[in-house]
Amino acid sequence: MPNLTDITAEAARLRNAFEATGAAVIEAAILQPADTLLDLYGEDIRARAYVTSDPLRGEQMLRPDFTVPVVQLHMAGQVDPARYTYSGKVFRKQEHDPHRPSEYVQVGLEIFDGSDPEAADADVFATFAQLLRPYDVKPVTGDIGILTAAINGLSTSPERRAALMRHVWRPRRFRALLDRFAGTAPQPTARTALLKRLAAGKDPLRGVGPQIGLRSAAEVQTRLDLLQADAALPPLPSSEVDLLGQLMTLKERAPAALEHLRDIAVDLPAILGAVQRLDRRLAALRARDIDVDSLDFEAAYGRTTMEYYDGFVFGFSAPGRRDLPPVATGGRYDALTRVLGKGRTIPAVGGVIRPEVLLAVAQNADLNEVGS
């Protein structure tokens, strides 16, 4: 791996390049309040971020990313639209792979502008593509928004759709829910027995001991009612499950993917809006001289790793270098701004480059040239 001096110089070069596109330089604190991050990312972040305690401020985390502090700084500043760049270290515990660094530099670009989201998507992607053009890296794009639009369009209850939506990021639980809703996986025997007791008018709370804890009897009753209502629902049509399956495995060049998605939209009109957005984005990318015809599109790209993105997503990786993480990643995160903004939403898109990975790719290319 390259040394720290080279990485710092490379980071400065990249940030200058972002600045030259009109971005304002922004700095973020290294210590971040843990509760915000925990509330946002859940317990998993505790396994990935360094948690430390401050005698006055309570639990703090060494920033695991820039996105959250940058969104907060932007919301405090109230200037719209805005374009920011930053450069600095992020800190991640490595619990499974001792060879991955636990602190590394990220240089980022973030755009807060709701006037033309697809143009902003294309702006970020094209800026990254331009900077990375001299290197042997390949982009992949995706769109989480198409998947979520498809889920929203399933002909089933709002509760079932919400359950699926909540687990888009967890493929295993998602699959289990889908199989249950489609009726292809059997209902657990305990559930069957419970529903039987309820249907027979028996009080399921009889003989189970006292009510303890914060979760009230009314909350239990609410869920029992939901379970009964859910049991009465027809199974999710297998045609819709198939379409969802096609969507999740869709992997093609962008123009072919768009055609394919248009076909799917005939049977699943709920995704039409998202597909039109993809169409507009591809046009905006073309307008910025991106070779859209050779651009890879994977509908489920980022589904397991990029949890806060909810629209356009992208990554740049070095082909054949499975040992290296992606050189750059990014995407749209409107929902995150809604959570952090307590109701106020600011359409936002951005991404980061990891200079040390970029240098490692460049070094490798030099070595190959020497060898040939």
């Binding site: 998602f174 289990a176 657990p188 305990a190 709370l205 979760r215 909350e219 029992l224």
Partner: protein
Amino acid sequence: MTLKLGVPSKGRLMDKTFDWFGRRGIGLERTGSEREYAGAVSGIDGVELVLLSAGEIPRELAAGRIHLGVTGSDLVRDKLAVWDDQVIEVDPMGFGFADLVLAVPSCWVDVDCVSDLDAAAAAFRKVHGFRLRIATKYHRLVREFLRREGVADYQLVDSQGATEGTVKNLTAEAIADITSTGETLRANHLRVLSDGLIHKSQATLFKSRAACWTPETRATLNTLTHIIDAGRD
């Protein structure tokens, strides 16, 4: 150089460990006064007894300060990241059985399995504005289990003792703790989820990968494993 064997320094775990080695012809005993942590080994040469708290044995094995150690398989998995890169299981010892389980209040009649817990957690967060709290001291094991199972909207709260009481005391909604008979859980009106078994633990003899393995300590280990194997029922 002697081979250092780390053994729990008190209680049933120590007694049963001494019995286990004793049945295989290796005498372990505490020496000196009742309060002094010193030990003696007979029946084999080149082994030094190190008496430690069971909770510290995983760390000592990982650091290589002891060559072998006896502790619960749950403690090794919880305290060491990528535990099998750091230690090797030599022998499960057949005592100190305990299950790490996920339990909820018995009155949650709508929650039978982990999938129900996940759904209840989502609803709980909406009603109460914070993530459903699970009290435990086995953070790594529980977190990895819940991640594997795809559970969201929960948080772990640390509980180093009397974990079964946290629900009644309103500091947690569910717990993950060690149980052998389930008696304490029942007494506190808690019920184990039908698929809530996180880890089946027992006392296990572990070997450190990081310890200094010289020809001498290797030879001693060889002799020791021969004696253990010969004594196997």
